[in-house]
Amino acid sequence: MGRIYGRSPIDFAVEAVSLALKDCGIAKDDIDGLLISGGLCSYLKMPDAVSMHLQNALGLTDLKLVNEMNSYGATAATMLQYAAMTCSTGQTDAVVCVFADAPLKKKPTDGYGTAINVGTGIESLNGASGILNAATSFAMAARKYMDRYNTTSEQLAHIAVDARAWATMNPRAQKREPITVEDHQNSKVIADPLRLLDCCLVSNGGIAVIVTSAERAKDLRQPSVNIIGWGQGHPGNRGDRTINTGAAMSGRLAMEMAGVTLGDIDIRQIYDCFTYTTLITLEDYGYCDKGEGGTAFSGGRLGPKGDLPTNTGGGQLSSYYMWGMTPISEAIIQARGQAGERQVDKHELTLVSGNGGVLQYHASLVLSSAV
């Protein structure tokens, strides 16, 4: 993952699946389900994006489950939910959930550069109006909240600083140098009020997660991580969705299913496309009252020395941007006890979030370490 050029999303996807199979010891021929998620390359309909062709690239035949799925950043968490559902009923034995993307190109004009999905009709007014990327839309979302609740950019800086502090201990992180609030404040404005250090990375790569029954998992090579709760909450076009997000509903449903409360959660892995996303997700999960996110999540609380360890690999802000697979991958590593220098001692229960689009879609998972 990272600044790796010259490989297509399908190449990344196939390698990720190959590594996942070796990681757990399941044979490729024992895979009977495949769920596929692409990133920007799929959104922009680029020719080399992952697609249903992945089944053939992997040489998987006679599958009981195969779908290409899309709720944007919420997709990964929902893929794990659906895989868990089919494995728990015995409809499938082992399902691969895979995300891959390659938006970074060697020449800037080949990728994000001037290529935008303008949509048609009313949607095409975005491109015509200079609303070209998620940052501009999230900037408007952040400003609306900050204006209403007197949140400051310095408070957002703390979220970035804490994510980076975890990333310094993550060998997979793209950004490993610590940053300060001052660094954040000096970083260039991307779309006011969001600065460069409020925004997530761009990464090429792929991540595959294999889901199987708890019974089957006991005999495999790695400590299993159990999916004990899931929930979705998709506001769609609800007018206040950027302030009262889908996280409230998806988090509540996931925790109710798992039979846990916020106080039981040891680690939070939050989809942090922007610092604002971390803030509003934690707030809507219930970690503070509405509007208190600025004060509640600053002062190092989310970092290695804080009481609410969050995004313990550096998140999308500092480790890698594999959409919803970023928080899921770190959740698994921590739950297994394999996080090395950044291992959180108490890692039995993890709450994972997945934001899609500009807060139109949301999914949550509760994961537990094997007993």
Binding site: N117, T120, A128, L132, K144, K188
Partner: protein, 135 residues
């Protein structure tokens, strides 16, 4: 996916033809449901509230700023000469919310809650582009 070196032009569809005809004539056209009378601007045939057919109606184009952002930099060549530009999300008095470029104001004088009106850029492109102006 569209790859463009110039400022993107809006793209007309069958369902938004009346909107873009109105835009060329400097008029905002919105969609009102024949059944529940709520107003939308989707370009879809049916009301997104009650799923019944809609009709097009003319609008003064007045609304209030929900939020805005000042964009200082872009890699898109079509917008470089407009930098820094302002985009604003506005809710029209009739109900629909729309994000467009806000033109003609000093960014420091823009605030949430300000009243704006829609106008249209007709710069010889195939379609007119709606924009906001503070009033």
């Amino acid at each position: 996916m569209i790859r463009s070196e110039t400022r993107p032009t809006p793209i007309r569809t069958a369902g938004t033809s009346i909107f873009f005809d109105g835009a060329k004539n400097g008029k905002l056209m919105l969609q009102r449901c024949l059944e529940c009378h709520q107003v939308n601007l989707t370009g879809y045939q049916f009301c997104p509230y009650c799923l019944n057919p809609t009709e097009w109606i003319a609008s003064e184009g007045l609304g209030r700023i929900n939020s805005f952002s000042i964009v200082p930099e872009t890699s898109h060549p079509g917008f470089k000469e407009l930098l820094p530009y302002v985009v604003a999300e506005v809710t029209l008095h009739e109900g629909p919310t729309l994000g467009l470029m806000l033109v003609g104001s000093n960014p420091e004088n823009i605030s949430i809650g300000q009243q704006v009106q829609m106008s249209f850029l007709n710069e010889g492109a195939s379609e007119a582009t709606p924009i906001w102006n503070v009033i």
